[in-house]
């Protein structure tokens, strides 16, 4: 049986995600047939089983939006990989000058334009992440897959949401997962519960999917398949 085809494409951003993926290219090539700039066989015209897109989409860039829509049509499973592609990330703060040029400044996670199947925060996700994720997608089911599926239907997710949805409503149990997960130390513990230092939050979303309470809320709220309604209590 031939390996499934996977398109790797960076839409802009800092290249951190690309670098992280390049580091597992050999492993990746063992499970899928990779098509990308790095492997010299980028082809935006063919159909793919998977597409792994990194970087955000600029809402003022017609070409990119059309390209994204076309990729969606041609692809079975579309992954928004890394914080910018999945939840906006630090590029939400960008004020022009980045790719795609020229002075475009309205960046958004890919889910604003097309339907995404799995959205993975992380700035950037550790290299091994992509391999684990693809292996799980092949096998089909599980809590964490559901979580990344749920993230695919939202347009923002950050420390601010963690405060609004979990900490301030009193749902935080003080486990410390968010604090351990924040790459910029924007969260610190005060009286056993986290507090956000707003200027330090790069809106990467990592803390939210690591929080046991927030992940539960995300699945419950955004994953509306019939199984999930059963599992998460919709009909019980």
């Amino acid at each position: 049986m031939s390996k499934p085809g996977l398109l790797l494409l960076d839409l802009g951003g800092c290249e951190g995600c690309s670098l992280s993926i390049i580091r597992v290219l050999p492993q990746l090539s063992r499970i899928v047939e990779v098509y990308s700039r790095y492997t010299g066989n980028l082809d935006l015209k063919q159909k793919y089983d998977y597409a792994v897109l990194t970087g955000p989409i600029c809402l003022n860039s017609g070409d990119h939006i059309e390209m994204l829509k076309k990729i969606r049509e041609q692809t079975n499973t579309l992954l928004a990989y890394g914080s910018c592609a999945s939840v906006g990330g630090i590029i939400l703060y960008a004020r022009g000058g980045q790719e795609p040029r020229p002075e475009h400044r309205v960046y958004a996670p890919l889910s604003r334009i097309v339907k995404i199947d799995y959205a993975v925060p992380g700035c950037p996700p550790a290299p091994q992440m992509l391999i684990t994720l693809l292996n799980h997608i092949k096998q089909g089911r599980g809590f964490f897959l559901d979580l990344f599926k749920a993230v695919a239907s939202i347009h923002k997710l950050s420390g601010f949401d963690l405060m609004d949805e979990v900490v301030l409503p009193g749902l935080c149990v003080g486990c410390g997962a968010c604090v351990l997960s924040c790459p910029t130390q924007a969260l610190h513990v005060i009286d056993n519960h986290p507090d956000l230092i707003p200027e330090k939050c790069i809106r990467c979303g990592t803390c939210t999917v690591r929080c046991p309470r927030f992940s539960q809320i995300l699945i419950r709220r955004y994953l509306r398949t019939s199984i999930q309604q059963n599992i998460m209590g919709g009909s019980r």
Binding site: S20, V120, P121, G122, C123, P125, A126, P127, Q128, M129, T132, L133, N135, H136, Q139, G140, R141, G142, F143, F144, L145, V166, P169, G170, L171, C172, V173, G174, C175, G176, A177, V179, L180, S181, P183, Q185, V189, N192, T206, V209, R210, C211, P212, R213, S215, Q216, I217, R220, R221, N230, I231, M232, G233, G234, R236
Partner: protein
């Protein structure tokens, strides 16, 4: 390597995925002397892992004073023994923990925590979102059964107001049937658990996980007196447990249907309540 397994939180599978369930108890004199309730099997197991150099450190919570706890990175049997006892609050993992674990002479770590902590540790291990994560060092995740933890300030205040017991005078708290048994410096107090429900953490009321389905090994009080119920979720843990038994650290027997039914009922009950509560607040 631990194989991929889909992890589910599903009322039809209240204990999650597992391969075998044991009733176990310690055979280690050091643990027998210290333990308060249960079978002491987890303590014995992690002491085995440390003493045979299978792991370099055990991350576990210890009660400091009153109900306040701290996370310790234990590297010897003595340090592990100092953590024996019941815990009534979540002790947050901190940046300091990450710092300690980044040391190059710590390569393999066992975590003993609550189901909520097992969840993110497993995510860290399986789906590393950050390179600075200590994912590669997480060797085993052990989760202790959890019905919920108290919001410390509220609970302490309640004990003081209602029973004139100060936090620093509390020696031990454990559950016996539907009573909370509080041992304190001048006696023993029994209060119905129902009376203390207001002082549970709000977030625990939405928590559906009693045993810790994300862990490699779940452990807690068995319905068989003097035993710890062990839910083994993969072959590696099973192998290590049998080795610990061979070396005389603990004894294992396959759990009876009654022991398993008991924990299934508790898990179902917690899940049901959590989903009911969640549907009120979302």
């Amino acid at each position: 390597m631990i194989a991929y397994q889909p992890i589910v939180l599903d009322p039809d599978k209240p204990l999650g995925n597992y391969i075998v369930v044991y009733d176990a108890r310690t055979r280690d004199q050091r643990v027998r002397e210290r333990k308060k309730t249960g079978g002491g099997a987890v303590t014995s197991f992690v002491i085995y892992l440390i003493e045979k150099n299978i792991v370099d450190a055990v991350v576990v919570a210890r009660r400091k004073k009153g109900l306040v706890g701290e996370i310790v990175v234990a590297r010897s049997a003595e340090e592990i023994l100092s953590t024996v006892g019941n815990r009534w609050s979540v002790v947050p993992y901190t940046l300091k923990l990450r710092e300690i674990l980044s040391s190059s002479n710590i390569r393999r770590v066992v975590f003993v925590g609550l189901p909520c902590q097992a969840q993110f540790l497993k995510q860290m291990k399986m789906f590393p979102l950050m390179e600075s994560d200590f994912s590669s060092k997480i060797y085993l995740i052990i989760s202790l059964f959890c019905m919920g933890t108290y919001a410390i300030e509220g609970f302490i205040d309640y004990m003081k107001r209602t029973y004139s017991i100060k936090a620093e005078d509390i020696v031990d708290i454990h559950v016996a049937g539907d009573k909370l048994v509080v041992k304190h410096s001048s006696g023993v107090l029994e209060i119905p658990i129902s009376e203390t429900l207001y002082y549970l953490q709000h977030g625990c009321l939405t928590c559906p996980d009693y045993t810790g389905v994300f862990s490699d090994l779940s452990a807690g009080m068995s319905s068989k007196p003097g035993y710890t119920l062990l839910i083994v979720r993969n072959k590696l843990v099973d192998k290590l447990l049998h080795e610990a038994e061979t070396h005389g650290y603990l004894e294992l027997e396959e759990a009876s249907t009654e022991s398993i039914e008991y924990v299934i009922n508790k898990s179902r009950e917690k899940m049901r309540k959590a989903y009911e509560y969640l549907s009120h607040i979302l």
